[in-house]
Amino acid sequence: MRDVVVIGAGPAGLAAAVAAATAGLDVALIDAGRRPGGQFYRHHAAETGRLHHDWDAFVRLRDALDRLTYLPGHRVWHVEDGFTVHALAGDRDERPVRIDARAVVVATGAHDRSLPFPGWDLPGVLTAGGAQALLKGDRVPAGKRIVVAGTGPFLLPVATGLARAGATVAGVFEANRPYGFARHVARHPGKAREGAGYAALLARHRIPYRTGHAVVAAHGDDRIEAVTVARLDRDWAPVRERVIACDTVAVGYGFTPQLEIPLQLGCATRMDADGSLIVAVDVTQRTSVPGVYAAGETTGVGGAQLSLVEGELAGLAVAEAAGGVAPDPADVQRLLARRRRLRAFAGAMHAAYPVRPGWMDRLRDDTLVCRCEEVTRGRLAEAAELGATDPRSAKLLSRAGMGWCQGRVCGYATAWLAAGVCGRLPGADDLRGIARRPLAQPLRLGDLATDDQP
């Protein structure tokens, strides 16, 4: 029985695990990735950190991993109350593993939020995060001539990273017109420097950056050959279109926190300003379930710096609750002040980069919404005629969200489309209806019967 198991070794999980271990707790840090760092600090086997922001913070945490039990390559598929974590170890010959612990820190991060468009299932269309993962983790640019599109500041590191790696970036198409956001950036010297760096790189590599534009269709037979880019009105309805040749599109509309584990444990959730479902936590990162803490993107998408702060707060709180070393009040005050500041910045970012209903205008009847089960918008419309006006009913009637990914990719879009039938926007209940996954990972039946202590 461990004192605490931390799930996820990105910025929040690393910070939580190291803080708890430093305070004297017996900590297991379990992660699906092959190397620590999560998505933000995803890195190549021979990484120097040259292209990473805040790499020093990561190195400090990585160097402290010898204070705890770090379990890479472990996919958690279920957590039982009390707590028992069930996982599969290894990337090809999977071995069942279980870990018992008195407390759990959920730091499972987020994945790209997808909005469908005609042709988005063509090979060569990737999520923005997927293109970034290939570049950071494998040093492979996703293509040769790449269009970057969607919404949010994340498009900038993706586009500039690809250009620095030698790809031609044919344009960055930001759906919003975030004019008011610059004054929030100006208040954070670190973020202002980062933004100025991206602007300089866009100029140096002659990358066009267009606000109020989106990729509304991808064209090609067996792979993408071109995209249609449209100028958008305020609600994102396309008003003027042109075609741009490319072999790759990297597209992302914000992020969806991964909440399978907190939902399995019965943690209260709510909708954040960006329209994503998040775990509700108190000032010490405690969820509504005693012994369960959450930190980082699962409690609201806000970036790596905020995740580091929240993770450290969670680790200190777990240690204090376990009777370990009480944290220095001055340290806690400093962390709380930093969290307030970074949360306020995240709120401004969400306000500047919303998703507008006009994205649904891009869909035709034969456009796929669910990639796994190949469910089209037309099939979802038929389900709506049968009375499926919430995403859960839409899923049951149309099979959208019933495939391999369990609705991770199409769930957000399905929620919009089902709610849209009644002329409303998706709410927290819509998102909860599609986020519950009793098994967080696909399993072979035999693995349900046998699992071992590591």
């Binding site: 021979a46 090809r92 269309v125 990737l126 492979v140």
Partner: protein, 83 residues
């Protein structure tokens, strides 16, 4: 340089790269077709979430190409419908 074998053809990789990354670097963008529409699929999310990139490695089916690290001599097959 190390290599894997994709449908009979050698594909080079750098140690530490995923099979999906090695295929992408070699210009291979898809390696399976969908069950119903027969549509080609390869990498989409790149981080183990979407399961679009399922692939068979040394006879073991339904692995995610983005998550499995390439090893010298791996025999990789795509092809099947929802392999």
């Amino acid at each position: 340089m190390s290599q894997i074998v994709f449908e009979g053809r050698p594909v080079p990789f750098h140690p530490g790269q995923s099979i999906g990354a090695a295929l992408t670097a070699a210009g291979i963008r898809s390696w399976r077709t969908t069950r119903s529409g027969g549509r080609p699929r390869g990498l989409y999310c790149g981080i183990g979430v979407c399961f679009d990139c399922l692939i068979t490695v040394n006879g073991r089916p339904s692995l995610r190409a983005c998550m499995v690290e390439a090893r010298e001599g791996d025999v990789v097959e795509g092809g099947g419908r929802d392999a």
